[in-house]
C-alpha cells in the first residue's frame, strides 16, 4: 500500500479577480521510502499541493474535490479546509520550508523549536526534550549541538538554520517528508551539503520524500521518480530515468533543456554517486 496518495485533488481559491482553480485533478502516489521530485514552472501549483497535503491551505482556498490518503486512510475528514486530521502533522508527514530565515521563530531558542511539538505530544520533560534536540542536531550535522541548542535563529548561518528545520521536521520520525525548495535560499556551497543531508536522511530513514524544486539536477541526484506540474495539473509522471530519457510532453522537454547539465554528468549518477553541481539549474 502506498504511504501517501493524493487522489484527484482539486482546489479553488477566492482571489481579487474572483474564484480560480489552482489545483486541477492532481494525483500523486508515493510509495513508502520513495523519493519523488515535483517540478514545474513558477505558479504551477507545487507549493499548494504540499500545503494541501498538510491541511495548511491559505485563507480563501477550498478543496472542492479529492482525497488525501495517508496509509490508506483519508485525512481530509470532511473535504473542507478545516476538516483535516491534524494528528498526522509532524508524526506522519512533515515539511521543510524554503526559507529558514523566516520559518523559525526569531525569539525562541532553536533547541526548543526542534522539540516543542514532540514534547507536547509525548509530555517530555524539559530535560529530555533538550537531550533529544541535541541528539537530532548532532544527527543533522550541527557541530557543538549542546551549545547551539541554546542559540536563537539569528545567531546561526543559513545552512545551519536549514539543518535545524530538518531536525525539527524529522524529530517525530515521520514517514513522509515534504520539501518546498529547501535549498534555494542557501549559498551554492551550502546547497550541496544540505542536499547531501537530505539524501542521507532519506536513505537512513526510508523516508517517502516529495521534493519540490526548479532544479532538475537536484531531482536527478535525489529522486527515483518525478512528477511535472503545469497550470495546476500533473502533466507527466514516471520513473526518473524514463521521463528524463523520453519525456512525453513538450513542456517537460523544455524544462529539461533549460537545465544545463542534464545530458551528461548528472544523469549517469541517478543511481547514487551524483556529484554534479546543484544550483545552476533553471530558476
Amino acid at each position: 500500500m502506498p504511504i501517501l496518495e493524493v487522489d484527484s485533488l482539486t482546489v479553488d481559491i477566492d482571489g481579487e479577480v474572483g474564484r480560480r482553480r489552482i489545483l486541477d485533478d492532481v494525483s500523486i502516489t508515493l510509495e513508502a521510502g520513495e523519493p519523488m521530485g515535483l517540478v514545474g514552472e513558477s505558479g504551477s501549483g507545487k507549493s499548494m499541493t504540499l500545503r494541501s497535503i498538510l491541511g495548511m491551505l491559505p485563507p480563501g482556498a477550498e478543496i472542492v474535490e479529492g482525497e488525501i490518503r495517508f496509509r490508506g486512510t483519508n485525512i481530509l475528514t470532511s473535504g473542507s479546509r478545516r476538516g483535516y486530521d491534524q494528528r498526522i502533522r509532524g508524526t506522519g508527514i512533515s515539511m521543510v520550508f524554503q526559507e529558514p530565515a523566516i520559518a523559525l521563530n526569531p525569539v525562541m531558542k532553536v533547541g526548543r523549536q526542534i522539540t516543542d511539538a514532540v514534547a507536547e505530544h509525548k509530555g517530555l520533560s524539559k530535560r529530555s526534550a533538550h537531550e533529544l534536540a541535541v541528539e537530532l542536531m548532532d544527527r543533522v550535522g550541527i557541530a557543538d549541538p549542546e551549545r547551539r541548542a541554546h542559540s536563537y535563529p539569528f545567531q546561526l548561518s543559513g545552512g545551519m538554520r536549514q539543518r535545524v528545520m530538518i531536525a525539527a521536521a524529522l524529530v517525530q520520525e515521520p514517514e513522509v517528508l515534504l520539501c518546498d525548495e529547501p535549498t534555494t535560499a542557501l549559498d551554492v556551497t551550502i546547497q550541496a551539503q544540505v542536499l547531501d543531508l537530505f539524501r542521507t536522511m532519506q536513505q537512513e530513514r526510508g523516508l517517502g520524500l516529495l521534493y519540490v524544486t526548479h532544479d532538475l539536477a537536484v531531482v536527478a541526484q535525489l529522486c527515483q521518480s518525478i512528477s511535472v506540474m503545469k497550470d495546476g495539473r500533473i502533466i507527466e509522471h514516471g520513473v526518473l530515468q524514463s521521463v528524463f530519457d523520453d519525456p512525453t510532453e513538450d513542456h517537460t522537454r523544455k524544462l529539461l533543456t533549460a537545465t544545463p547539465r542534464i545530458d551528461d554528468g548528472v544523469f549517469a549518477g541517478t543511481g547514487g554517486d551524483a556529484s554534479a553541481g546543484t544550483s545552476e539549474g533553471a530558476r
Binding site: 495548511m56 523566516i102 525562541m108 516543542d116
Partner: protein
Amino acid sequence: MGKYILRRVLLMIPIVLGVATLSFVLMKLAPGDPAAAYLGDKATPEAVAQLRHAWGLDQPMIIQYFQFLGGLFVGDFGRSFIFQTTVLELLKLRMPATLMLMLVSLIFAVVISVPLSLWVAATKSAASAIVSRVFTATVQGMPAFFVGTLLILVLGVNTGLFPVGGYGSSLGEHLYSLVLPGIVVALTICPVLIRSLTAALNDSLSAEYTNFAASKGLSRSKIVRNYAFRNAGITGISILGIQVGHLVGGALVVENVFAIPGVGSLLMEAVLARDYNVVQALTVIFGVLVVLVYLLTDIVYSLVDPRVRLGA
C-alpha cells in the same frame, strides 16, 4: 548597553531644556498677571506693583529665565504664588496620587487590551471582531470626562459599588478610589493598543514561522502563546511605551472629574491663577517623565528581544 543608556540620559538634557524654555515662554506670553489675579479686582496698582516686586516679576525677562533654569538644575522649582509654599512641597503632596492613577490605568489598559486582541486574532471569529470593533469605536468617540461621568452615575451613584470621587486615606482606599478613574484613563489608550496589538498578532499568526510550527503538529494554543504572542508582545511593549504620553494627558483630565487630589487639579488651579512656577515645574516634570518612560521602554524591549539583547 550601559553606554547606550548613558547616551540616552545625556540626550535628555537638551530635551528638558527645550521643554523648560517652551513652558517659560508660553506662560509669559499668556495674558494675565499673577499678582493682580492674587489680589483681586479691588487691589490698588501700588499693591500689585509691590507684590510683583516681592515675587521677582519686575526683573528683566532674561534674568527670570536664567533663575528658573538655574533652579531646575538644583531641583528648586521656586515657590507657589497662591499656595504659599514651595513647589517641591506641593509636588510631594500631590504627585503620588497622579503616579498611582497612571500605574493603575496602565494595568487596566493591558488587562483590557491583551485578552481582547488575543481573542480577536486567535479565533478570527465574527463575534470577536464585532465586539472589538464596536468597543474601540465607541470608546474612541467618547471623551474621557464623559465616560467618567457616565461611570460615576452607573457604578458610583446608582449601585454604590465604587466611590464617586476622592482618594481615601489608606493604600487600600486609594486603590479602591482609583478603579473607576483608572478604567476611564485606560479607555483613552485602549483603542490604539487593541488595534496595534491585534494587527501585530495577525501578522505573527500568518508568519512563516507559525506555518512551520503548525506543520510540526504543535497545538493551536501553544502556537498562539509561544509563537504569535511572544513576537507580537515585543511589538506591544513599544506601542505601550508610546501610549504612556497619552496616559499623562488622560490622567490630568480625569483627576478633575473624580476629584482626585493629584497634580491634574493642581495644574488646573495653577493655570487659572497664573501660578507660573507651578505650571512650569509640572510641564518640565511630565516632559522628563515621558522621556524616561520611552527610555525604560527601550530598555525593556532590548531585554525581551533576544535579537537586541544578544546583538543581531
